[in-house]
Symmetry: C2
Subunit: 321 residues, 2 copies
C-alpha cells in the first residue's frame, strides 16, 4: 500500500488510519475473524477505493474521522467481494500470497466475507446519510449481479466487447464511482460536483480494470501476485482475449476450447493473446477511459487534491502491478 502512495504522505497517513479502523472492528470480534482480517491486510493492495473516498471529500468540508470510517466501510465491501470471489474462482493465490479460502478453507472464507459485508453495512447505517446507504445497497446488488454474469459467461468464446464492458462496469467501475460519490456527498459537495466526481470515478475504474486485465497477460506474476493468464485459465475471457479473437485465424479459439481441460493448451492461448494485437487494443481502450477521467479532473476546483488525482490517474495507467 505504502509503495503506491509514497509521494502522498498525508493520504498514506489517513489510509493507515482506515486500516486500523478495520483491524479494530475485527479485533472486537471472534478470534477467527481477527486472524483472517489481519491476514488479509498482510497482503493488502493499494487501498485505492478508500483513498478515493478521502480525496473526493477534500472538495467539500470533510469531518475527518467520519470520512475515515466511511472509507473503511468501502474498503470492507471491496475485501468482502475479494474473499468471496476467491471461493467462486477456487483461487489459490491473491496478491502473491495464499488466498483466505486456500489457507483456511471455503467455509471460513464464506463467514469472513459475510462478516465484512455485514460490518460494512453496519458502519454505513451508523454513519452515512440516507442517500449513501441506498446507493451502497444497490451497488452490492450490482456487484453480485456482475459476479454472477462473469460466472455464467465462463468459457463462452463469443463474449462481446459490450458484455465485457458491462461486466467490469458492475464489478469495478461502480465501486470506484461509489467511493467518489460517498466522499463527495458526505463532505457536503454541491450536486454538480458530486456528479462530476462520480463520473470521474467510473471512468477511472473502467481504465483500471482494463489495465488489470492486460497485466494478467503481460506480467510474470512476481509483481501482480498471480500467475500470468490466470483469468484465462479460469475461463474468464477479458478484453485482450475478446479483441484477439476478432483477428483470430482459428488457433486461439481452438486453444481456448481445449484449454478448459488441458493446461498446456491454456498456456498456449495465453501466449497467443500476449503476443497478439488484443493487448494494444485493450491498452487503447484503457487510455480512452483514463483520458476521459483526466478531462473530468481538469474541471475540478483548483485544490491540491486535483493534482493528486491527476498523478494517480497516470500512475494507474502506467503501473506494472
Amino acid at each position: 500500500m505504502m509503495r503506491f502512495w509514497e509521494g502522498h504522505p498525508e493520504l498514506s497517513g489517513e489510509l493507515l488510519q482506515v486500516r486500523d479502523t478495520i483491524l479494530l472492528r475485527a479485533a472486537s470480534d471472534d478470534p477467527c475473524v481477527r486472524q483472517a482480517v489481519t491476514q488479509l491486510f498482510a497482503s493488502s493492495g493499494k487501498m485505492l477505493r478508500p483513498a478515493f473516498v478521502l480525496l473526493a471529500s477534500r472538495f467539500g468540508m470533510p469531518d475527518r474521522d467520519r470520512m475515515i470510517r466511511i472509507a473503511a466501510a468501502v474498503e470492507m465491501l471491496h475485501m468482502a467481494t475479494l474473499v468471496h470471489d476467491d471461493i467462486i474462482d477456487a483461487a489459490p493465490v491473491r496478491r502473491g500470497v495464499a488466498s483466505l479460502q486456500a489457507l483456511r478453507g471455503p467455509r471460513t472464507a464464506v463467514l469472513v466475507g459475510d462478516w465484512l459485508f455485514a460490518s460494512c453495512f453496519a458502519l454505513i447505517a451508523d454513519l452515512a446519510g440516507d442517500q449513501n446507504g441506498r446507493a451502497l445497497s444497490h451497488l452490492v446488488a450490482r456487484i453480485c449481479g456482475s459476479e454472477i454474469s462473469q460466472s455464467a459467461d465462463k468459457y463462452i468464446l463469443h463474449t462481446s466487447v459490450r458484455r465485457y464492458l458491462r461486466r467490469i462496469a458492475g464489478k469495478t467501475a461502480a465501486l470506484f464511482a461509489l467511493a467518489f460519490h460517498a466522499g463527495a456527498v458526505e463532505s457536503g459537495c454541491p450536486g454538480a460536483l458530486v456528479s462530476l466526481l462520480r463520473r470521474l470515478g467510473y471512468s477511472l475504474g473502467m481504465g483500471f480494470q482494463i489495465i488489470d486485465d492486460i497485466l494478467d497477460f503481460t506480467c510474470d506474476g512476481a509483481e501482480t501476485g498471480k500467475p500470468a493468464g490466470s483469468d484465462l485459465s479460469q475461463g474468464i475471457f477479458t478484453l485482450p482475449v475478446v479483441l484477439a479473437l476478432k483477428s483470430d485465424d482459428g488457433q486461439l479459439a481452438a486453444a481456448l476450447s481445449r484449454g478448459r481441460t488441458n493446461r498446456r493448451a491454456a498456456l498456449r492461448a495465453t501466449r497467443i493473446v500476449a503476443a497478439g494485437s488484443g493487448i494494444a487494443g485493450a491498452r487503447a481502450a484503457a487510455e480512452a477511459y483514463t483520458d476521459r477521467a483526466i478531462r473530468a479532473i481538469d474541471q475540478l476546483p483548483p485544490l491540491p487534491a486535483r493534482q493528486t488525482l491527476r498523478e494517480v490517474s497516470c500512475q494507474l495507467l502506467s503501473r506494472t502491478y
Copy 2:
C-alpha cells in the same frame, strides 16, 4: 408452507405473494440465480418470518403491497443465511432435499447467498424507513457474529447454557424480533406497541430455536428433513447436549469427543442425549420462552391477528417438523 398455515387462508394467500415477489426478482436476473431460487422454494419452509411481518403490521395501518415486499426482504435475508450456513456446515441436505451447496457446489451457493443478501438490502433501501434499514444492517452483522461464534464453539464440550442462549438469540431470535419490528414500524404502530411486538418476536424465536434443537434428537428425519443428531455430528452442541452433559457420568463426554472422527460414537452420543434428561430440560426452557411470548400476546389490542399469533405460538411449541 401451506400445511403450517392451513387454518389461515388470508395469511397463506399473502405468503404466496411474498414468494412470487422473490421469484419475480430472481427471474429478472441471471438464469443461474433463477434456477437456484426456484429450487430453494421447492423445499420451502414455513415462511414464519414473513408471516410475522404481515401479522405484526395488522396492529397498525399497513399498506399491503409495501408490507409484502418488506416481508419478502426479510425472507430473502433468512434464505441467504441458510444457503451460506449449508456451505459452512458442508450440509448435504436441507428440509429433506439436497442443499444448494451439495447440488450446485459451494461456489454457486456463495454467489446465490450474496445475491439474496444484496437483493434484501436493495429492497429495504427502496422501501423501508431509515429505522428499519439501520436495524437490518445491524441485524445482519449480529447474525454473522452468531454464525462465527457457532463455528468457533464447534466440538467444545464445556459450552455453557448462557453461551448457547446468546448464540441462538443472535441467530434466530434477533431475526424473529426484526420481523415483528419491521411490520409494526412500517405500518405506523405507536412506539410502545412496536416494542411489545419486538419483544414478543424475540421470545417466540428463542422458543422456536430450542424446539428445533430438540427435534434434531427426537425426530427420525423424515419430518424435519435432516438426519437425527445432525447438529451433534457437526460438532454443534445445542441445549439438549449442554444440559445432558450436566448429569453425565462421563459416557456422553467420551462419545462426543470420539464422535468427531468416529460416526458410531456420534450416533451413540445422539442416543444418550435423546434418552436423557436434557430433552425435558430443553423443553421446559422452550415452554418458558413461549409462555413469555403468550403473555406479551395477551397485552396486544384485541384484533383477529392476536388470536392467530396465539395459535401459531402453541403450534410452534407442539410441532413435530
